[in-house]
Every structure is written in structure tokens, then in C-alpha cells.
């Protein structure tokens, strides 16, 4: 067991908890928060996997996912507040 693997397992554990929260709810805001947390876990996991496999290209993708995650959260919250997107 090396440090990267333990870190990855902890992050996946956190992702699992976020998924549980997204399934259980109970309010919409729990779910929005869960999705946002999950996106953050994705970014961290990609960076970790890039480190483990020594692939620097993963960092670019991680940054892209951070941006997409932000966009999705904004769209979700806008829909929840106004029930429309325009």
C-alpha cells in the first residue's frame, strides 16, 4: 500500500458518500451540493491518476472538468430558483 493508493481510496470513499447523498436527498440543495462535491472528487482523482501513471496530460483534463462542473452547478441552481434557464 503506497501513499497514492491510500489517497485514491480515501477520495473514492468520499465520492461514494457524495453519491449516497445525491441518491437520498432529501432536498434539492443536498443533491446539488453532492454533484458539486462529486465533480471536485473527479478533479482530484484525475490529478492522482495522472501522478500514479505519470501522465501529465491528465492535469489539463482535470482543469476542464473543474470548469464544466462549475457550469453545470450554475445551470442547476438557476433552474431550481427560477424554474427556467433563459
Amino acid at each position: 500500500m503506497n501513499a497514492e493508493l491510500i489517497t485514491a481510496l480515501l477520495v473514492i470513499g468520499g465520492a461514494f458518500l457524495a453519491l449516497l447523498r445525491a441518491v437520498k436527498g432529501p432536498t434539492t440543495f443536498d443533491r446539488v451540493l453532492a454533484v458539486n462535491v462529486f465533480g471536485t472528487k473527479t478533479v482530484v482523482l484525475l490529478a492522482l491518476l495522472g501522478y500514479i501513471g505519470d501522465r501529465t496530460g491528465f492535469l489539463d483534463i482535470a482543469v476542464l472538468y473543474a470548469l464544466v462542473n462549475f457550469l453545470g452547478t450554475i445551470a442547476l441552481l438557476k433552474f431550481v430558483e427560477t424554474r427556467r434557464l433563459g
Binding site: 485514491a8 476542464l64 472538468y65
Partner: protein, 202 residues
Amino acid sequence: MSDPVLLINVLLLLLAIGAALAAMWTRDLLGAVMLMGIYSLLLAIEWANLFAMDVSYTEAAVGAGASTILLLTALTRTGTREKAGPNFHPTALLTVLVTGAVLIYGTSDLPRFGDPLAPATVHVAPEYITQTVGKVGATEATENDFGDHVPNAVTAVLASYRGYDTMFETAVIFTAGVCVIIILRPLAGSARRRTAGSKEDA
């Protein structure tokens, strides 16, 4: 489990299956949209792990970004609760099972994964790899198209070997986007026009 990446992959795929099952099971459509976003993010990591960077980018941008917004747009015109109904559709299950069985039967004809003697490996791939990547369409007189600056074979194939294909794909997607805007806009504009027209009538 000696390989850490393998262990991580297995856990991530289990999470993806969990997210997909939850998205099917939930009756809250807004929650289902969010669960599909999570599912897309997990698949995007998997694509990146398989070195399919272009697919990974697309999955993140389209699956987690654009699809979420598209589904939310659909939800603005419908309700956010699924109608209660029978959860079990025997015909649908049978169709899925038959289709899946046919597809799995079809894979028995494919060459083994990573087979060095497979037609795809011996026919054109060597040219793409040995070259020639970056010297597409080059003759003795002209310099090559990319100036030897495309180390990634996938990028070379997408941008040059299949350059026209990619270009017209972009054109098709642009046309589809314009059509969606044309279809959706009157709905937003007609309400405004109606109120303006009623004022003129008054």
C-alpha cells in the same frame, strides 16, 4: 489487487453502476438529471484512464455539461416528478436482453483484444504510427502539413487523415445547434409579441 490503477478502475465502475441504477430508480427527475451528471463524470475518468483523451473531453463537455443543461431545459417545459406507473415492462426487458445477446454474439467474431495480427493492426495502423504522422499530403516539393508537430496519433488522424470528415461533422453539429435555436426561440418570443400586440389592440 497489486495494480493500484486496476483497483481504482473497479471501484469507479462500481460507483458508475450505482449512479446509473439510482438514476433509473428515482422518481424525482431533477435528481435523476444530477445522477446522470455524476455518471458522466465517472465515465469521463474511465475514458481518460483508457488513454481516450478526445472521448474523455467529449464525455465531460457533452455528458456532464451540455446534456445536463439540455435535460434541464426539457424539465422547464414538463414537470419534475415522474408519473407513477408499472416499474416492470416485460417487453422492454425482453428487447434489451435479445439485443444484448446479439451484440455479445457479434463480439465472438472480433479479433482478440490487442491481437498483433488483427486486420486493424496490420493494415493501416503501421503507416499512421511509423511515419508519416505529420507528413500528411506532403509531396517532395511541399513541407508537411503540421511541421512534424503532431506527436499524438489520434490528433493526427482526426485533424488530418480524417480532416474533411471532422470538418463536416462540425458543420452538421453547427446546423443542429442552429435548428434547436430556431425551434426554441419562437416559444420565448411569442409571449413577448403577444403582450406587445395586446397593448396595441388596447
